[in-house]
C-alpha cells in the first residue's frame, strides 16, 4: 500500500508502519489464534505466535505514536482527543 502524500497529516507517515502493514501483522496473529485453538500444545506454533505477536505490538505501538490510535483504548486523553483528530487508516 502506498502512502498517500495528500493526506494532510502532520506526522511523518512515510517512516512508520502503514495501516496495511498493521492489518497484515494483525491478520497473521489472528489466523494463528484459530490454529492454536485446535493445537494448543504445538510448540512451533506457539513460538511463531510469540514472534508475530511481538512484531504486531511493535508495529502497533509505532503506529499509535507516530500516526494515531488504532483502538479507542489507545487514546491518551492527555494528548487531547486524538481519536477524531488523527488521520483515518485509509488516509495514511
Amino acid at each position: 500500500m502506498e502512502n498517500n502524500m495528500n493526506c494532510g497529516c502532520t506526522q511523518n507517515a512515510l517512516t512508520g508502519p502503514t495501516a496495511m502493514q498493521l492489518a497484515q501483522a494483525g491478520f497473521v496473529i489472528f489466523d494463528l489464534l484459530l490454529y492454536l485453538d485446535t493445537h494448543p500444545t504445538d510448540q512451533n506454533a506457539l513460538s511463531y505466535f510469540a514472534a508475530k505477536k511481538s512484531q504486531y505490538e511493535q508495529a502497533k505501538a509505532a503506529y499509535v505514536q507516530q500516526i494515531g490510535p488504532v483502538r479507542i483504548s489507545d487514546v491518551d486523553p492527555a494528548d487531547g482527543w486524538t481519536w477524531g483528530e488523527t488521520p483515518w487508516p485509509w488516509e495514511v
Binding site: Q21, A23, Q24, A25, F27, V28, D31, L32, Y35, T38, H39, D42, N44, A45, Y48
Partner: protein, 76 residues
Amino acid sequence: MACAAPMQAAPAPAACGCETPSEQTSREACLCNMSLAMSYVLMQGWAQTYEPAVALSRGTIFPELDLPFLAAGRIC
C-alpha cells in the same frame, strides 16, 4: 499404517417425497436424493506459512489451506 475397510453406508431412502417433476429443480429436491455419508477432517500439522502481505491477500497464513472453492452454488 494400513487403512481399515470403509464402513458400509446405509442406502439412501428410495423415496423421500420430493421427486415430483415440479420439484426436481429445487435445491431441496437435489439434497433429499443424496446419500448419507460420513465426513472427516484431517488434523492440520504445522508447516510453512505465508508472508504477512500474501497471507492477508489469500485469507490464510497456511499455504495448504489456500484452496479454490469452486463448488458454491453448484450442488445440482
